[in-house]
């Protein structure tokens, strides 16, 4: 007995020492983790590459014109809906709604436009492959702006002639109502569609060209809307400089623990990677079908739509050469992995952009974490997720960390309000 006691004492002492050492050790980041963190850091965001499909993408005048169009509610069937109706600058260019509300209700949640200049695919299903092609879709959606391209070119002729011509050259004469009806376009509304089909191909092309230029101007504006640095970025900045006091100021212990889980056990960076926290690909995460909505097969339909899209990178309306359209040319167009796959949204400002998922199925980030912790069977296709085995405390730490990704918008302040 007497011999055993010091032995136990010794073992406990060693255990305590190892315990203390392991706790202090886990507070430091390994070189590999540092490299992962620096990949998420906003400082790793590369310079924005030109958009070869849009010759006006970096034109300042086009951006100013696009800014005006973005906020102008005349470009709708009711005179009440603009891009900014759903993309509110003060809500990080989202709207706080589960489903976007234009002149009607859509079947998806509004995505932010912050940083989308970096994304090869737009919308939750990637059915558009440029910002300008994306910007045109809601304008002709029966439940968003609800108008038609002929209606819009008349508005351009009436209110924006000078600005338009200064950028794009002479505006065609749309004044003959026989040739250019007040409302016409390839839309759901039967009357507007019939009017469109009755026009000559040349007249339709004249209208479409102006309509396309509207999209290119809006895209030039949207290209200037970037995410601002968040506390997370200050933390990584300090980490890379080995400035421990600044690291402590930037993130709380819980947020750091959440970050460690984010890149480790919870494996969020599998899809939310890179400085925008999205890999811009498409993933099935078994998100349940929203109440009162039909089954949404996401990318499976999105890829078919973008390949057939009249405004895609390879279309005559694009300014790109074929060799510029690699994303479209080498896109995966079939396979089970596309079923109910959706684009991971950026997580920058995510705490400000509830509700979550493609139809706003989850009200809070806690709900999102609970979903990922126990991923259900997908409505269709195969849910890529595995159970994470996170404790409630760990989930709370990840939510805390996500709050440290709020850094607002990085854009000239005048662009964040109506001109």
């Amino acid at each position: 007995m007497k011999r055993i006691l010091p032995l136990i004492g010794g073992i406990l002492l060693i255990a305590a020492a190892i315990g203390v050492w392991s706790v202090t050790r886990s507070a430091a980041w390994s070189e590999e983790e540092k490299s992962t963190l620096s990949g998420l850091w906003i400082g790793s965001l590369p310079a924005l590459q030109p958009d070869p499909s849009n010759a006006y993408a970096d034109d300042t005048q086009a951006a100013e014109f696009g800014h005006e169009l973005f906020f102008d509610t005349r470009f709708s069937s009711t005179g009440e809906v603009s891009c900014a109706t759903c993309h509110l600058p003060e809500l990080m260019f989202t709207d706080g709604e589960s489903l976007a509300q234009g002149v009607g209700t859509t079947d998806r949640k509004t995505m932010t436009i912050i940083g989308t200049a970096y994304s090869p695919w737009q919308f939750w299903d990637g059915r558009k492959d440029s910002q300008w092609a994306q910007a045109l879709a809601p304008l002709e959606s029966a439940v968003e702006h609800g108008g038609t391209r002929a209606q819009y070119v008349h508005l351009i002729s009436e209110f924006y002639r000078e600005e338009y011509e200064a950028i794009f050259g002479p505006l065609p004469d749309f004044s003959d109502p026989e040739r250019f009806p007040i409302s016409a376009g390839p839309v759901d509304d039967p009357a507007a569609r019939a009017a469109w089909e009755a026009m000559t191909q040349a007249d339709r092309d004249a209208v479409t060209q102006v309509f396309v230029n509207m999209g290119k101007a809006i895209a030039a504006y949207e290209r200037l809307i970037m995410p601002g640095p968040a506390r997370f970025d200050l933390y990584v900045d300090a980490l890379l400089k080995d400035d421990k006091p600044a690291m402590k100021t930037a993130l709380t212990e819980d947020e750091v623990a959440g970050l460690r889980l984010f890149i480790g056990k919870a494996n969020c960076i599998q899809c939310h990677n890179g400085p925008l926290f999205t890999n811009n690909d498409f993933h099935n995460t078994g998100v349940p079908t929203a109440q009162n909505l039909p089954l949404d097969d996401g990318r499976a339909s999105g890829v078919i739509l973008v390949l057939a899209d009249e405004f895609n990178c390879l279309s005559p309306w694009s300014d790109a050469g074929d060799s510029d359209c690699a994303e479209l040319r080498f896109v995966t167009s079939a396979g089970e992995q596309l079923a109910a796959a959706f684009k991971p949204p950026t997580l920058r400002n995510v705490a400000e952009t509830a509700p979550y998922m493609h139809a706003g199925q989850f009200a809070t980030l806690e709900d999102v974490l609970a979903h990922y912790n126990h991923p259900p069977v997908s409505p269709i296709g195969h849910n890529e997720l595995d159970p994470l085995g996170l404790t409630p405390r760990e989930m709370a730490q990840i939510v805390a960390f996500l709050g440290a990704l709020s850094g607002g918008v990085d854009a000239p302040p005048e662009l964040l309000q109506a001109p």
Binding site: I11, P120, A266, N273, R329, F330, E384, D386, L388
Partner: protein, 161 residues
């Protein structure tokens, strides 16, 4: 109860306690991954991967090497590779038909894009367009090369960090 018996029981109890305490204390080192696969997060790349960019094809017919045109392997960006194919005795192979394929074996998924060989650049070089990797970790890229009536495959391992 005899003193001898008490000693045996006590020793057994204490040993059990030490083993349990020891396991708990050692958790940070052995990692929870050995206790339950669910708790392991992402798998590390398998050890002993051959990530060399020049290798002999499976049946030894070709000597194949790849390089990314942009130098490093970018995350989430579509980019182009150049593949170089030689015979086993070092003669450039021209006019080959090459299929591209791959994925992340640990995740059970393929490549996110559908890359293709789009040009025979001559001197055994081929342009491979549409490469993209959207996750960090261990990837396989496989080329099936058919030339002069012979066909052989080569799988490159690579790790995106």
């Amino acid at each position: 109860m005899e003193k001898q018996q008490l000693k045996v029981i006590l020793t057994a109890v204490i040993t059990t306690i030490i083993v349990i305490v020891g396991l708990i204390v050692l958790m940070p080192f052995i990692g929870p991954r050995f206790l339950h696969p669910m708790m392991m997060g992402d798998q590390p790349a398998p050890s002993g991967l051959d990530t060399s960019t020049e290798r002999t094809s499976d049946a030894g017919m070709f000597m194949v090497s790849w390089s990314s045109d942009s130098g490093e392997l970018p995350l989430n960006q579509i980019h182009t590779w150049t593949l170089h194919v030689e015979t086993a005795d070092g003669q450039p192979v021209e006019g080959a038909t090459i299929l591209v394929d791959g994925g992340m074996p640990q995740h059970g998924h393929g490549l996110p894009t559908n890359p293709q060989v789009t040009a025979d650049l001559g001197n055994g070089d081929y342009r491979v367009e549409g490469m993209r990797f959207q996750m960090l970790g261990f990837w396989e890229v496989r080329f099936t090369i058919t030339a002069n009536g012979q066909s052989d495959s080569i799988t490159f391992d690579l790790v995106l960090e």
